[in-house]
């Protein structure tokens, strides 16, 4: 009995120990729950939201690029894509084969889709083909009942209606490089493209627009359950160019007759660029639809460098087109008067060095106007020797050489105007008088781009205003002209008239170097100056043997240059043409300039003010798109 009572006592004590332990464990669990839910609650709430909500970036529509009349140069074409959603069909392959009977689908595409379908979640659409024709879309739509899982999706692809003609100017867009990925979430978006060159690059941020955002609730496998919030994307700004699209196209095709050439047409007074072309070019559309390795290799290995915009980044010795500057410097410094004459006997001797005039046998007595007209080298040799390089350089800078304008294309180069200090800094050597002689005719260290030559010519014929080139207007100004016009340069109008008289004569008088390209109709008549830039020094042997330049290898031939303006009596348009290794300015560059100046005068783009962008147009475009989508 006693033992039994003891046993009950032990049991009861131990039973309560067990009960206490159970309650204690429950307490621990409750405490843990409170810790997780209250103390750590906010942390886990954040984690839970992160789990639940996916931020989706919505790509904005890229801004258009239009010419001065509002004609599109870069647009967003509709890109119809055929997609398949695996979960909507029982047999992907069957759907694909049926599709293959309907429209053209390559075997590789089918294999790629089948392979991808095994890897991704079944609700993720897989692209079968893009760039579908309207006809194909219609065919697919009709056959949709037999094509389970198939979807047609409208995407956007940058398209350049003018193709090659605007390749350098507009540039192109391509996929974002790893190094370019920054803060903008758009850049991480698959398939997103940004401007790589030209206007597309320069105004990329303006045209890009603002990303929209959608917060979508997703489940554990990433399927979207519903949209929680949405902020629409804002389409990018439209860029209006001063370019005349048709003139641009004309210019490009005119240059295409040469192996490698570039040209600029601009307004002598306002600085608007109407056309700017560089040949050879490439089709920028291949970058958006996917360039093949073979295409890339071909473009890359072309010695005429199709990717380089030579109009702004090609640097050439200005050659005889520089003579206006030397003359203007001489007249301004009163080194020579306009009536002063020099006797050209075909060469000019300085110490032991002999400098030849381009014309064997010489020009005889030459004054300022005639020196430009016949492009007499000896006249400028003598002038430069008395004038000195620093004066020449001063006027070269005044007329816009040797500097960048802050032009809208980042590819712009500065060229080179040498002087004493420059040589001392560059080579640690003193300037030699012989170098001034060479610089006087635009050779030696001198370098200028076609754009700079056009600016130089503009400043020579616009009454002496320091015009700078610009190419974008409207909402986005690149290089906006100052209020009240361009500043006046400190130039004597009488001297300027002498120079212009000489240039008028180049084209319009019997002995002028470009008389062969003359426009007979008085209203379209133009003036200008030829230039022939030496690539290699002409050796004594070549000179004695009388080897013609065209007999040399292409790479060794002279560059051909021409700067011109029109109409002759009241210049409005200016153009510069550089034909690489074109042998002679009067022979290859002047005829091109003639055609360009005639065309620009006929089209007369300056008559029409720059197209004003407004949202009305954009909205209309959107409406149009909706209609086509229906």
């Amino acid at each position: 009995m006693k033992k039994q009572q003891d046993q009950v006592k032990v049991f009861t004590r131990r039973a309560f120990v067990i009960g206490g332990l159970q309650c204690a464990i429950l307490g621990v669990l409750g405490g843990r729950l409170a810790w997780l839910q209250v103390a750590q609650g906010s942390r886990y709430k954040t984690l839970s939201e992160k789990n639940r909500i996916n931020l989706k970036v919505i790509a904005p529509e890229r801004g258009q690029i239009v010419d001065r009349f509002g004609v599109p140069l870069a647009v967003n074409a509709q890109n119809f894509r055929a997609l398949i959603i695996p979960e909507q069909t029982d047999d992907i392959e069957k759907s694909l084969r049926t599709l293959q009977d309907t429209i053209e689908i390559s075997e590789e595409d089918i294999q790629r889709v089948l392979k991808q379908a095994k890897k991704t979640a079944r609700f993720v659409p897989i692209e079968i083909r893009d760039d579908l024709e309207w006809e194909d879309v219609a065919k697919v739509e009709v056959n949709l009942p037999d094509l389970p899982g198939l979807n047609i999706d409208v995407g956007e692809r940058r398209s350049y209606p003018y193709g090659e003609a605007t390749a350098h100017l507009i540039g192109y867009v391509a996929a974002v490089d790893k190094s370019e990925v920054g803060k903008d979430p758009l850049l991480s978006l698959p398939g997103f493209k940004i401007g790589k060159t030209g206007i597309e690059k320069r105004f990329d941020l303006d045209m890009r627009g603002q990303a929209g955002r959608a917060e979508v609730e997703v489940n554990v496998v990433g399927r979207e359950v519903r949209e929680l919030r949405k902020k629409e994307s804002r389409h990018g700004k439209r860029v209006v160019l001063t370019i005349d699209g048709e003139l641009q196209r004309f210019t490009q095709s005119r240059l295409a007759e040469q192996k490698s050439a570039s040209a600029v047409i601009m307004d002598a007074h306002s600085g608007e660029v109407y056309a700017m072309a560089s040949h050879p070019a490439f089709d920028p559309n291949i970058f958006t639809s996917g360039i093949t390795a073979a295409q890339m290799l071909e473009l890359d290995s072309n010695p005429a460098k199709p990717f380089v915009n030579k109009a702004v980044s090609g640097q050439y010795p200005p050659a005889s087109t520089f003579k206006m500057i030397t003359l203007l410097a001489g007249l301004s410094n009163r080194t020579f008067s306009s009536r002063h004459t020099v006797f050209c006997k075909g060469h000019f001797d300085l110490g032991r060095d002999r400098f030849h005039c381009w014309k064997r046998g010489g020009h005889g007595w030459v004054d300022a106007r005639k020196a430009i007209q016949v492009s007499c080298d000896c006249y400028f040799y003598e002038l430069a020797l008395e004038l000195g390089i620093d004066s020449i350089a001063e006027y070269a800078h005044m007329l816009g050489l040797g500097e960048k304008y802050g032009f809208e294309l980042a590819e712009e180069r500065a060229g080179l105007v040498p002087d004493r200090n420059w040589k001392l800094g560059q080579f640690g050597e003193k300037w030699q008088p012989g170098e001034s002689v060479v610089a006087a005719i635009g050779q030696g260290y001198l370098q200028a781009t076609p754009l700079q030559l056009a600016v130089m010519t503009s400043r020579l014929v616009n009454g002496g205003y320091a015009v700078k080139p610009w190419i974008t207007g409207g909402d986005i100004w690149g290089n906006k002209p100052p209020e009240g016009g361009w500043p006046k340069l400190n130039l004597n109008s009488a001297h300027m008239k002498v120079v212009k008289d000489g240039m008028d004569r180049v084209v319009n008088t019997k002995n002028g170097t470009a008389v062969g390209s003359r426009i007979v109709e008085d209203e379209f008549a133009f003036g200008g100056k030829t230039g022939t830039g030496q690539v290699q020094r002409i050796t004594m042997q070549q000179r004695m043997a009388g080897i013609k330049n065209e007999e040399l290898k292409w790479k060794s031939r002279h560059h051909a240059l021409f700067v011109g303006y029109a109409p002759m009596h009241k210049p409005k348009y200016v153009c510069s043409v550089v034909v690489e290794h074109g042998i002679g300015g009067s022979r290859t560059a002047a005829p091109i300039a003639r055609d360009l100046l005639l065309e620009v005068q006929k089209r007369d783009p300056a008559k029409t003010p720059l197209h004003e962008p407004n949202d009305q147009v954009v909205q209309n475009k959107d409406k149009q798109k909706e209609q086509t989508a229906l």
């Binding site: 033992k3 003891d6 046993q7 032990v10 049991f11 009861t12 131990r14 039973a15 309560f16 120990v17 067990i18 009960g19 159970q22 309650c23 464990i25 429950l26 621990v28 669990l29 409750g30 843990r32 729950l33 409170a34 997780l36 839910q37 209250v38 750590q40 609650g41 942390r43 886990y44 709430k45 984690l47 839970s48 939201e49 789990n51 639940r52 609730e217 997703v218 489940n219 554990v220 496998v221 359950v225």
Partner: protein, 375 residues
């Protein structure tokens, strides 16, 4: 031997029903209702596929529980050993079928229910130990030779369950058995020695563990080790619990479970779903309901007139609490993921059946507290 307090006459069925522990029945039903609500939510606000079937099962199980409760405890006492060997036999059958048939199978398909012998074995081991210790004196309990048989009663099913392999169930049987030894008066030193032995066994056990078991332990020790793989369940469960906060996200509003971030939300992780939607308040409420059930078992046990009833009722209460502790500690990241259901709430037949049988026996102990089971 005479006993001053003993009920002479046999109770009628109605008397037994009247003596049924209706408060316990109410508590159990309350917990089951929490389960129905949670399963309704787990299905995204739908009775099918889980809640409706669970209700039907609970109905059948509650009926079975009452039948077991009104059967005189002495019959259960007498049937203990046959039931024990039947349990062992079923475990063997499952083991052999598993080898012959389709891999690691833990159940016998009886058509209407998939019977998991290991679940039943948890109850039967408690019965067998209660029966064995019923006649034991305190002196017996200090004799090592006396304890050989009860140790074998525990180790035989544990060995078979381990072969399945089911570490969680094995440990539960051992822990329940240890509690039985304790309440019957086994020496404290046995536990201290046992603890030391277990500590020494850990490296050996580690060596014999299956890869997936090792993974579970490693993942438990550092859930972030593999956030997308094995640690994913624990991490997502903790996020679900934590984001519930004090008041919860609201019924049917649990994003973690609704969006399937929560694994096994209708079975092992159902507590997480409940606490995500009803917060700390709901969680503590459920824990309290469980606590009351434990205490009710303790109360039946200490009111027991004979050792068999005392040991059986408390053993069953301990067994039930082990389910609760293991499951909830697991979903809170306190112990490794072992794959144990939350009794009465998790969707599933066998665990429901097993705990309801347990409650039936517990009630039988209470109803027939004046019955003499032997001698």
């Amino acid at each position: 031997m005479s006993s001053s307090i003993s009920l002479q006459h046999e109770q009628s069925i109605f008397e037994r029903l009247a003596n049924l522990n209706w408060l316990l029945f109410l508590l159990i039903t309350g917990i089951a209702c929490v389960g129905f609500a949670a399963l309704y939510s787990a299905a995204g606000g739908s009775l099918s596929p889980w809640a409706s079937r669970q209700m039907a099962r609970f109905g059948v199980a509650a009926f079975g529980m009452i039948i077991i409760a009104i059967i005189d405890i002495k019959w259960w006492y007498r049937l203990t050993w046959p039931l024990f060997f039947l349990g062992l036999f079923l475990l063997l059958v499952v083991e052999i079928m598993g080898h012959v048939g389709m891999g690691a199978q833990r159940w016998i398909d009886l058509g209407f229910i998939k019977l998991q012998p290991s679940e039943l074995m948890k109850i039967v081991v408690v019965m067998a130990l209660a029966r064995y210790f019923h006649t034991a004196t305190l002196e017996d309990m200090r004799r090592i030779t006396f304890l050989v048989i009860p140790v074998m009663v525990i180790m035989a099913p544990v060995g078979l369950v381990l072969l399945q392999p089911d570490l969680g169930t094995s440990l539960m049987i051992i822990m329940a058995g240890a509690a039985m030894f304790f309440m019957a008066g086994a020496s404290i030193w046995l536990y201290i020695g046992g603890a030391i032995a277990v500590a020494g066994m850990i490296p050996i056990a580690w060596h014999f563990m299956r890869d997936y078991q090792k993974q579970r332990v490693l993942t438990f020790l550092d859930p972030e080790r593999d956030p997308l793989g094995a640690g994913y369940h624990i991490t997502q469960s903790k996020i679900a619990l934590g984001s519930g906060g004090l008041e919860g996200k609201g019924f049917l509003e649990g994003t973690q479970s609704r969006l399937n971030f929560l694994p096994e939300k209708q079975t092992d992780f159902i507590f997480t779903l409940w606490a995500e939607e009803f917060g700390l308040i709901g969680g503590v409420l459920l824990l309290s309901l469980f606590g009351l059930v434990f205490l009710y078992g303790l109360w039946i046990s200490v009111r027991g007139r004979q050792n068999y009833m005392r040991y059986l009722a408390l053993g069953l209460s301990v067994n039930f609490s082990l389910y609760v502790f293991i499951n909830i500690a697991m979903v809170m990241g306190l112990i490794p993921v072992v794959g144990a259901p939350l009794p009465l709430i998790s969707y599933g037949g066998t665990s429901m059946l097993a705990v309801m049988i347990g409650f039936g026996l517990m009630m039988s102990c209470s109803i027939h507290q004046y019955t003499k089971v032997s001698r």
